[in-house]
Amino acid sequence: MALVGNPNVGKTSLFNKLCGLNQKTGNYPGVTIDKKRGNFTHENIPFELLDLPGINSLYPNSKDEELVVNYLLNEQGDELPDLILVVVSALNIKRNLYLLDQLRDLDLPVVLAINMCDLAEKRGIKIDEKLLREEFGVEVVKVSARSDQGLKELKDLLLKAHSVNEREPGYIEADNRDLLHQFSKIIHCKNEYRSFLQLTQDLEINQKEEFSKLKKEFIESNKIEVRKWKINESILRYKLIGNIIKKSVVTDKSAADDFTTKADKLLLHPVFGYVFFLLILFSIFQSVFWLAAFPMDMIDAGFSALSGFVADALPSGYFSDLITQGLIPGIGGVVIFVPQIAILFLMFPYWKRADTCPYCLSD
């Protein structure tokens, strides 16, 4: 099985929980940049799980996104997963479902895990998973990688055999369907969305000259506006998702005024934002000095004592001076900064866990 989802939705957290591993997570996109394998058994059935970098859509924008898309679209298919476990965040479900909707068209078995349900409850977000199951035609389960909610249900779902019910392409205008069908035939691709993706972008997997020539000829002879196809896909998909969300997701606005919203008001203020930023950096700086003062004094005292001891033990002369006035104070001068550096690095994980990275569009 492969874990696929938008960046920062908790794929690795879920992977760690399922496989009992401890891969790196972080509250910002782009933590996982490579494929990671893990295993677990449930009801005596062994599972192999693949954790992947987050992708925004099947149109990759960076090397790590490309890795995922190439993996999902690889033509041979012998490496393809038996099942895609799509992870979305309950907090940003509309945008996350966009990727699900795309993956749904690849005709691979899909299970949808809605993560961060613990936070969603706090923010007054209610999601009707039964309706989502009906609308998308995939199994749906609500989970929280933080509070362990729903993990058992998720494993039980993975045990079931998953068939794929193919659906009508909703990503292309009716007038263009014939063209797409023709193109699929020309490149011998069974799945039409797969050929749509290959037609509308240049992927690493089909860099072959033969393919490029074929594609170029097809686009030119049929006067296909590739960019328009792509834009229409977005419009069509969001229209569908918007309608589904209207029916299946309710947000209690009074509860939505949560901590992040309030904190953002202050922290992103045009003037106070910078003041806060400087204040926080300053306090980190101060606390590093303050916390490190004690171990630094100890190291200082230790090295002085050591050179005193060596000076007494050795007969005086050039050799003694080299050790007691050169070597020992020299090493001491470096070691004395270790506590400051260590404390600064120990603070980094906490620093990153706090919401310091608002979601940025590019990279």
Partner: protein
């Protein structure tokens, strides 16, 4: 009007995305014609613009934001 000229804290509607290399990417984020949005913040010194479209908050560079036509 371009999004870059839009006032902070006001609500608006996206009317058009100028055809550009970033257009496809913006649309994948749900930044589509017809969508309503709020400008949450504009950073000083010509910095990024922070907008909310639905429940989705996106930080945009100025050149990305200038491809978005709003009213």
């Amino acid at each position: 009007m371009r999004l870059t000229d839009f006032e902070v804290k006001k609500k608006g509607v996206i009317t058009e995305i100028v055809d550009s290399p970033v257009a496809g990417k913006l649309m994948e984020f749900g930044i589509l014609p017809g969508a309503t949005f709020t400008v949450l913040n504009k950073a000083s010194f010509n910095g990024p613009i922070f907008i909310q479209v639905g429940a989705n908050r996106v930080m945009l560079r100025r050149d990305e934001a200038s491809a978005i036509i709003v009213e």
